[in-house]
């Protein structure tokens, strides 16, 4: 919200305080200055000039050569405007000035042989108005040399304030002035209303009926007759322009002015457009449509509060007026609406219609119900003054149940308890009084404070403590330098997943973080999606159901930029719908997962090694190493005959007891095509909670082997379809407990072996923890194993 410093100064004396100081103090007391526009800076190097002499340019018919006095020196200036004349006071741009409209810099110039040491400006060039018919002629009483900003009253500083939603009172100049008065200990002066009303009574000219007093607790109206709708005077236009508003006409400008002065939104109706000169405040009919001031047709609901006349709606209460009753250049008689609407009702309507206006913005935050009369009267007075209108006698004020100010007790000791610092009693009282609070009674321990109704945010003691602390200054409360903390047990719910991250890193995986919101068609690939009711874009319509799609998006992104060899992982939540409708936390699942993805080359060609692409065995090996590091490799079983999954060409799962805790494989070509990926991708996903919940035996030291191991190798020619696991199982079956490890170390197929045959070579490791083995017993064991394989698998022993 924009606040003009010149405007503020009408209500509080800020003499002797710099605008920098004001900026700082506003920010550190809670009205954050987000931007400052120092209008005077625009007019650096512009002064009031006096045209001492004007001669025709010797070489150009349309130019003149003037001697301009800047108060300090006389300068030769070439001017092209027809209306320049000796004796004028003019707006003069000195060398170095930057012309606001166009942004060009004034330099010393030679025009058709005549030197020009500056420029005489038009109002258009100064960016003040559209008038470019000639130079701007100023008030002759202005002294030459006076800064132009000062001469034109443009020496304003405009603050852009970020007002938090709890401070509707600060959404106007008087409100901000009140904070400044409290901060700097200065006095406030509010504009006084001195209405000259005519004999005619308002009750004969208009009537008000409020059907819904919950939605509209107060409706105040004044009537001004015989106004002339015309352009506003300069001072009023300047006020509005300063805060970025466009002046329209005196009546509309006055309502805008009061809104920004006192925070009370007003609406001016053309009284003669209101049927029976009547206002009825009631709810809309469901589905009714209404054309607002911006010429848009709005569909209403039965919950929307409307301002109607005897026959039809004329405004959406607190949000926007209607085209059918707006003030036009022909308007003669005006009804001023100054109401207090229920904040929540206005908010619902504004939200539903997606229509936020200066009025709705204030009503939904809470205006002052006890300020409507003041605002209406001040507006009426201004309409009389600026539009020549006559104010009818009296006011119609429908206010069936007065909203009384709250009384709140404030204990001094509680301030110290909350802030950890004692603020002296006189400071506490001065701050509250400065902000407009009333102290009803007091004793040595506490104050009874009446809260003005413009502060709907103050309801409790702690709210008053904040008021005191923020004006006192948070910076004056010293931070404690030591604390005592309870020595209860500390927990870290993120520790386990952090360990997983580090383990993944040690294997060469980089961590990624992908968007958990995806287009529905992407998220649906892997599960039952939970969808957003109101996504800003359909790209974030659904929650991810697995880490796979996000990982594939990341892979595609990397392939696009030439990064083709990837080892990535992600830790994150995935969401799946369980029940058709989400009514409780049981109707969906939210699981923390770790997902791995590998693609491209496991090894690029190097001087010591040939390149090799990732395959499923890389994935298997990496997962095995990962699980080993976290102590789970022996706890989990592989399951290769997992259910078919359309997203994978082949898959396997990791099982703990009978529960699947991880799942993945080679991503199917169809899925890859959807993501524009044309190389093989392997992916796997674990449920972190499932891994975490596996109870591991506490680690105990195991005696290091003292006796030698004996290793025997063997190779077999086998039918091609026999798996490694089958052979290992048979070897184990044919061996005693001395056999501790079986490892495949070679596998190949070749025509020499016969049709559909392959060779597999294994290394068998024997030892006993308690003695040295004899060669003969190992030989016996080994031979038995070989014989068993030959017999059971119809294998041919190829020796070693």
């Amino acid at each position: 919200m924009k606040i003009s410093l010149n405007w503020i100064k009408n209500y509080v004396d800020l003499s002797g305080i710099s605008s920098d100081d004001i900026t700082d103090k506003l920010t550190i007391s809670g009205l954050e200055v987000e931007d400052i526009e120092d209008k005077a800076k625009l007019f650096d190097n512009f002064v009031v000039g006096y045209v001492k002499e004007r001669k025709k340019h010797p070489n150009a018919d349309k130019l003149s050569v003037c001697i301009v006095s800047t108060g300090e020196e006389d300068l030769n200036v070439v001017c092209g405007a027809p209306n320049v004349a000796a004796g004028q006071k003019i707006a003069f741009a000195k060398i170095g000035a930057v012309v606001p409209n166009g942004g060009f810099k004034i330099t010393k110039a030679k025009l058709r042989g005549e030197v020009s040491m500056g420029m005489i400006c038009s109002a258009n060039e100064l960016g003040i108005s559209d008038d470019h018919s000639g130079i701007m002629v100023l008030d002759p009483s202005l002294p030459a040399g006076m800064p132009l900003a000062e001469a034109l009253g443009l020496n304003d500083v405009v603050f852009e304030l970020g007002i938090t939603p709890n401070r509707p009172d600060a959404l106007c100049h008087i409100g901000v002035a009140r904070d400044l008065a409290a901060i700097f200990g200065r006095k406030m002066t509010l504009p006084e209303v001195d209405l000259k009303e005519i004999e005619e009574d308002i009750n004969g000219a208009a009537s008000i009926e409020v059907e819904n007093t919950t939605g509209c607790p107060r409706y105040t109206a004044k009537v001004v007759k015989n106004v002339t709708v015309k352009e506003s005077p300069e001072w009023l236009k300047q006020r509005l322009v300063a805060i970025g508003l466009r002046p329209i006409n005196n009546i509309v400008d006055i309502t805008n002015f009061i809104l920004h002065e006192a925070g009370q939104p007003l609406h001016a109706f053309d009284l003669d457009m209101l049927k029976d000169h009547k206002i009825v405040v009631k709810n809309a009919m469901e589905g009714e449509s209404f054309v607002t001031l911006d010429s848009k047709e709005r569909k209403l609901s039965a919950a929307d509060l409307m301002i109607c006349d005897a026959a039809k709606p004329v405004a959406i209460a607190g949000v926007m007026g209607g085209e059918n009753s707006e003030v036009t250049p022909e308007t003669k008689n005006v009804l001023i609406e100054s109401a207090y609407f229920n904040p929540s009702s206005i908010r619902k309507t504004a939200k539903r219609l997606i229509l936020s206006t200066d009025a709705s913005y204030r009503f939904e935050r809470g205006t002052d119900p006890n300020n409507t009369l003041y605002a209406a009267s001040r507006a009426a007075q201004l309409m009389a003054e600026l539009g020549g209108g006559e104010v009818l006698k009296g006011t119609i004020d429908v206010y069936p149940q007065k909203i009384e100010p709250l009384k709140v007790n404030l204990r001094y000791a509680r301030i110290t308890t909350v802030m950890g610092f004692e603020i002296a009693e006189p400071d506490v009282k001065n701050i509250l009084l400065g902000l407009g609070f009333t102290i009803l009674s007091e004793n040595k321990d506490s104050l009874d404070v009446e809260v003005p109704t413009y502060r709907p945010d103050i309801e409790r003691e702690v709210d008053l403590i904040e008021e005191v602390a923020r004006i006192y200054g948070y910076d004056k409360i010293p931070p404690v330098e030591r604390i005592a903390i309870a020595l209860e047990e500390k927990t870290d719910q993120s520790a386990y997943q952090d360990k997983l991250r580090e383990t993944a890193n040690s294997l060469g995986f980089y961590e990624m973080i992908t968007n958990s919101l995806q287009p529905k068609e992407i998220a649906s690939i892997t599960g039952k999606t939970i969808d957003m009711l109101n996504p800003d874009s359909l790209d974030m319509a659904s929650l991810r159901t697995s880490l796979l799609p996000g990982a594939l998006i990341a892979v595609a992104k990397n392939l696009n930029v030439g990064q083709k060899d990837l080892m990535l992982f992600e830790v994150g939540h995935v969401f799946n719908k369980i029940a058709p409708e989400i009514k409780s936390f049981d109707d969906f699942s939210e699981e923390n997962k770790i997902g791995f993805i590998i693609t491209g080359k496991a090894q690029t060609t190097q001087w010591y090694e040939k390149e090799r692409a990732f395959d499923i065995y890389d994935l298997k090996g990496l997962l095995s190493a990962f699980l080993d590091k976290i102590g789970l490799d022996n706890e989990l079983k592989d399951l290769y005959t997992h259910v078919e999954n359309k997203n994978f060409d082949y898959t396997f799962a990791k099982l703990y007891k009978d529960t699947v805790v991880g799942f993945g494989g080679a991503v199917s070509k169809d899925v890859l095509k959807k993501f524009d990926i044309n190389q093989e991708v392997f992916a796997f996903e674990f449920n972190i909670e499932a891994l975490k919940s596996i109870q591991l035996e506490p680690k105990r030291f195991k005696e290091l082997l003292k006796y030698p191991k004996i290793v025997r190798d063997c190779a077999f020619i086998l039918d091609r379809q026999i798996t490694c696991e089958e052979v290992v199982n048979v070897i184990r079956k044919g061996s005693s407990a001395l056999l501790k490890k079986v490892e495949l170390f070679d596998i190949f197929e070749s025509g020499n072996l016969g049709n559909n045959k392959k060779s597999m070579a294994f290394s068998l490791e024997y030892f006993d923890e308690s003695r040295t083995l004899k060669d003969e017993e190992v030989e016996k064991d080994f031979n038995r194993a070989v014989e068993t394989v030959k017999k059971e698998l119809n294998a041919e022993f190829r020796g070693i």
Binding site: I28, D35, P165, N166, N505, I513, I530, D531
Partner: protein
């Protein structure tokens, strides 16, 4: 005989001291240590030594052989190490055989730093779900229904009762519902805002919130704790300020600024000419929040604070576009 042995020893020492390459050394070996060499010949001669002298001469001869062999071996090793052939076999300029380790995402690394600091300050770490109830995300945190405070956070709704959490504050509620004071915990996690994706905003970000509830916890303690955090995280070369703000779940509320580390407080594009960078929001837990979780606000006071990780990392590493975090371009990931 003993004299011959002694002379041989002296001769050998002389000769080996002249040797400068392997070839000369080989010649020396042939001369002394080969089957027909000097030492072997001496052993032959031993047979002719009178029986009573044999032990002494034999011992001496053995010592000679050992000494010569040792000197020979030592020099051989040395010469081989220096020899041109071996040197050429190792080209230290060849690239090493590649090994690679990955890294955590920069946001997680930043989060780790923050967690470490707060662990040191005695905080536990708690987590919670991202798909939350409206009650936990708003109502329990003192957001009145239909209050414009709800507009401060554009919300993704699943339906009228469920939503994607807009801050990690609902974890505060979950922690307090399950535990009586004292509470001292930070709550990191993903949060969501229903905003268009651009260089400056994304539909999700990471947040860390903190909560401390006990008897006698004050705003001054909140300040002390956060100043200590900021000194550890940002170093000591900055000024700070706390300015009033508004969050429905804290009262009084504040935001903490530190001097801009790009311009040192002079004003620049990063701090929007103010000289200050906002780093976190904080405040004293609102009594209504205590009421909602069944804590007695006369007995206990508490503070809470929260900060966005993306923003912190943007400032710290000068990252120009928030989308870089979530595109996962390997070239980006590898930088950190």
């Amino acid at each position: 005989m003993l004299q011959t042995i002694s002379e041989t020893n002296k001769n050998f020492s002389n000769e080996i001291s002249q040797v400068s390459d392997l070839k000369q050394l080989e010649n020396l070996r042939i001369k002394y240590l080969s089957r027909k060499g000097i030492i072997a010949t001496l052993f032959e001669d031993l047979k002719t030594v009178p029986k009573e002298d044999k032990p002494a001469v034999g011992k001496s001869l053995n010592e000679l052989r050992n000494s010569v062999q040792t000197q020979f071996d030592t020099l051989k090793e040395k010469l081989e190490a220096l020899s041109g052939n071996n040197k050429q076999a190792v080209d230290f300029t060849l690239p090493g055989r590649g090994k690679s380790v990955g890294s955590k995402h920069i946001l997680i690394q930043t989060l780790d730093e923050i967690k470490t600091i707060f662990r040191g300050l005695g905080f536990s770490i708690a987590e919670g779900p991202e798909l939350e109830s409206d009650y936990n995300n708003f109502s329990a945190l003192n957001f009145a229904p239909d209050h414009p405070a709800r507009d401060m956070q554009d919300t993704f709704f699943i339906n009228k009762d469920y939503l994607l959490r807009t801050h990690t504050s609902p974890v505060q509620i979950r922690v307090m519902q399950n535990q009586q004071p004292p509470v001292r915990a930070i709550m990191p996690g993903k949060v969501y805002r229903n905003e268009a994706i651009s260089a400056r905003s994304y539909c999700l970000f990471h947040q860390v919130e903190g909560l401390c509830v006990d008897k006698g916890v004050t705003f001054a303690e909140l300040k002390g704790t956060l100043v200590s955090f900021a000194r550890q995280f940002y170093g000591s070369g900055f000024k700070y300020r706390f300015r009033p703000s508004f969050f429905p779940f804290t009262e009084p509320s504040a935001e903490m600024d530190i001097t801009c580390f790009l311009c040192k407080g002079k004003g620049c594009r990063m701090c929007k000419q103010t000289g200050w960078l906002e780093i976190l929001g904080c405040g004293m837990v609102d009594p209504n929040v205590f009421k909602n979780v069944g804590y007695d606000s006369e007995k206990y006071t508490g503070y809470a604070f929260g900060m966005g990780i993306e923003r912190i990392a943007i400032l710290k590493y000068d990252i120009p576009d928030i989308r870089l975090y979530f595109e996962n371009d390997l070239r980006f990931l590898k930088q950190f």
